[in-house]
């Protein structure tokens, strides 16, 4: 008993009260900031160097759906590219993931793009089934952490459930390997309608480093409507939870 009390005394209260306004360590790589003064030669050089073709060679904008947050562009042109510690970078539309030079703040989340049925039915309880389809286990571990004592997304009624039959939607991680394509389809079909699809991590959104690999098959992603995009390598639990909160209108 004494031992347990000592553990609890050390443990104290762990949950983060305000999930939207946390200050992460300075080096955390979240929303990029691109200088409005970027030159076309800088944009071109960065685009050529970018390992996942996330940078547009003409404008210098960054597509967070492809970006692996490796920071190589910021090391190449320190005054031009910078990754801020702002973790609120989830988007309701694919086009919302593109960050333009001179842009400040996050405008990727467009509430009007959220299907009305989502807020009507799931605002107070959202049960999700996770499907890893070629994920490297870092996104999966962060999704698991989203329910832990620190991030505690369960306080909003958001949780992962064991069966797709009990779920309101699926969260996909990984570039969708060919060998998982059928199982992903079957899991989605097992979720009762209306159902939603969330893509978590750069690999899921665009294929990331694995885009174009002959072992990847992305038909499922291409043929379905995606309700939420959560970028990251891996996506931070705070990015995931605040993205869902924005989607649900919490």
């Amino acid at each position: 008993m004494i031992k347990e009390i000592r553990i609890l005394a050390d443990h104290r209260i762990q949950y983060i009260a305000d999930l939207r306004n946390q200050v992460l360590s300075e080096r955390f790589r979240g929303r990029p900031v691109i200088s409005a003064e970027i030159t076309s030669s800088q944009a071109e050089a960065a685009a050529t160097m970018c390992p996942t073709a996330a940078i547009d060679g003409e404008s210098g904008s960054i597509d967070l759906g492809r970006c692996t947050f490796c920071n190589a562009c910021a090391f190449m042109f320190p005054g031009v590219f910078r990754f801020s510690a702002d973790y609120r970078i989830a988007a309701s539309e694919r086009s919302g993931l593109i960050v333009k030079p001179g842009q400040t703040g996050w405008s990727g989340f467009n509430g009007l793009a959220v299907r009305p049925v989502i807020r009507r039915l799931f605002r107070r309880a959202l049960k999700l089934r996770q499907v890893s389809a070629g994920g490297d286990n870092s996104c999966e571990m962060e999704l698991h952490a989203a329910g832990n004592v620190n991030f505690d997304m369960g306080r909003y009624g958001i949780e992962f459930v064991a069966s797709p039959r009990h779920a309101d939607g699926i969260v996909i991680t990984g570039p969708v390997s060919e060998n998982m394509a059928d199982a992903l389809e079957m899991t989605y079909r097992a979720v009762p309608s209306p159902r939603l699809i969330i893509l978590c991590g750069t690999d899921a959104i665009s294929g990331g480093l694995f885009a174009g690999s002959p072992a990847v098959k992305r038909d499922f992603i291409e043929k379905h409507h995606i309700d939420l995009y959560v970028p990251g390598n891996p996506a931070h639990p705070l990015t995931f939870i605040t993205g869902i909160m924005d989607m649900l209108g919490i």
Partner: protein, 498 residues
């Protein structure tokens, strides 16, 4: 060969297959040898086989080579003499269609995109079956109840007792080895790929790749860079071991242990984030240098967090491993004998929990471990309890290693340079790189052509061997103990599937 120096491919003697096989069987019959990687690749005249054998006593790696140019469709198997080789021969069979006479069953390993027979698909996997009126089968996966990677487990049970478990993988195959060769000279892209082989082992695999690139280019890292890498590797080990302790507690419904360990893991991985901006250490390990060299401020923060976490983790685990309700579930559950571990070719934690010492940091020291004396922590019983307690021992050991490393770092010269992404590789070379990740030994092998271009990149995650140990662990156990056994190994799906 010495692990840090590549061998010229011309200098590796090509053995006739009967001699190749005989040599391997003689070596692998002795405990001091084990196979790091055995693979096959195409050459203009046929197939070339490369086998990398670790000699734990001398700390060297032996390379054996055979070239098959006769167009024949099969070879005499090694697996009936050395069971641990079964997985490599299955892989070669699956990719190149070659048969191995005497192999018990050449089952698919991962259904790679470049497999010999595309008609074989993952839904037609040939499971082992037992015909009986009383037995039943239970199929689980590929999508599991928890938030984990996909794989299929097929149990044959007598009532609640598991007679046999077959683990079918391949769902995670992303073709990553081929992406390495396609990335070629782009060291940045290769580094990112290495960190994604298994995202929970970004540092372990990242280091194996960086080390391999450097050895192919003849680059010698300065001591400060080596020290920083070892610190990162031990941080990864501590973070995962504490997280696994939380998961083990969760599986036996001991909530206090679970939440206390979850919070402690957060402290460790947030310190890694403080250092390099990523909780999994992605971005930290690069060939030729570092984007995030250690600073006094970061080193002090690591020491501070380590002190706090170690003290609290010891308190929690004192509680966990003395609680009767926990011991009742952990003790004598999922036991693997030393002999089984040896014949399955188990490495890392899975081996060390049943008295088999396999630790690359001690046997084939790399980076700054060369200057240190590592005494691997050891347990002997091979059950869930042993794997749990081994984690406690290793967390304390790693904390001690980090403290020593930080001390040396503080007193030494700090000349960690920036990463070099365009290292020129030696032509016609074979390089082998081994590291000890938190699961066990990681082995990357690369081959270059006459112009120094990468022609082959082969990866072995410790899980490749250790999945078999898990299958053996659950025999004669209750099926309800499977999640606990699985968690106690915590193996990688994507590391196996590549």
């Amino acid at each position: 060969m010495n692990a840090s120096v590549p061998a010229g491919t011309e200098d590796i003697p090509v053995l006739d297959y009967s001699l190749f096989r005989e040599e391997l069987i003689t070596m692998l019959g002795r405990e001091q040898f084990h196979c790091l990687n055995y693979f096959c690749h195409r050459i203009p005249e046929g197939l070339r086989f490369m086998c990398c054998i670790a000699d734990d006593e001398t700390g060297t790696i032996r390379i054996l080579c055979h070239e098959k140019k006769d167009g024949g469709t099969s070879l005499r198997s090694l697996s009936d003499s050395c069971t641990a080789m079964h997985i490599f021969e299955r892989e070669i069979h699956e990719r190149y269609g070659l048969g191995f006479e005497g192999h018990p069953w050449l089952k698919p390993v991962r259904y790679p995109h470049d497999r010999a027979d595309r008609r074989n698909v993952i839904s037609t996997y040939p499971f082992y079956e037992m015909e009986s009126e009383v037995l039943h089968e239970v199929g689980v996966g590929p999508v599991h109840a928890g938030v984990i990677e996909p794989g299929h487990f097929r149990f044959i049970c007598n009532g609640e007792k598991v007679l046999h478990l077959e683990i079918q993988l391949g769902y995670q195959h992303r073709g990553i080895e081929r992406l390495f060769t396609e990335a070629g000279e782009n060291g940045l892209r290769r580094s990112l790929l290495a960190e994604s082989i298994a995202g929970d082992t970004a540092t372990g695999h990242g280091l194996a790749h960086a080390q391999l690139s450097e050895s192919l280019a003849g680059f010698i890292p300065p001591p400060s860079l080596e020290i920083e890498r070892c610190i990162a590797l031990e941080m990864e080990r501590i973070g995962i071991h504490i997280g696994d302790t939380a998961a083990l507690c969760a599986d036996v419904a001991y909530q206090l242990g679970q939440v206390a360990c979850e919070a402690l893991r957060t402290l460790i991985i947030n310190t890694t984030q403080f250092w390099c901006g990523n909780r999994f250490g992605k971005g930290l390990i690069r060939p030729g240098g570092s984007d995030y060299p250690l600073t006094e401020k970061i080193a002090d923060e690591i020491l501070r967090v380590l002190g706090e976490v170690e003290r609290r983790y010891v308190n929690v685990t004192d509680c966990v491993y003395t609680l009767p309700s926990v011991l009742g579930r952990f003790e004598e559950t999922g036991t693997v004998s030393r002999q089984q571990a040896l014949s399955a070719g188990a490495v890392g934690m899975a081996a060390r929990s049943c008295g088999l010492v396999r630790d690359i940091r001690a046997s084939h020291p790399f980076q700054y471990y060369r200057q240190m004396e590592i005494k691997p922590a050891l347990q002997t019983k091979g059950d869930v309890m042993a794997r749990g307690r081994l984690r406690v021992m290793e967390v304390r050991e790693s904390a001690g290693i980090i403290r020593k490393l930080v001390e040396v770092w503080k007193n030494g010269e700090k000349n960690t340079g920036r990463p070099v992404y365009d290292l020129r590789f030696m032509p016609e070379s074979l390089a082998v790189s081994v590291t000890e990740g938190w699961r066990g030994e990681i082995c990357h092998v690369a081959l270059t052509d006459a112009d120094g271009r990468l022609v082959d990149y082969r990866i072995k995650d410790p899980s490749l061997h250790n999945w078999m140990a898990l299958a053996l662990a659950v025999r004669n156990q209750e099926i309800s103990d499977f999640p606990l056994c699985n968690k106690s190994f915590n193996l990688s799906y994507c590391g196996n599937d590549l």
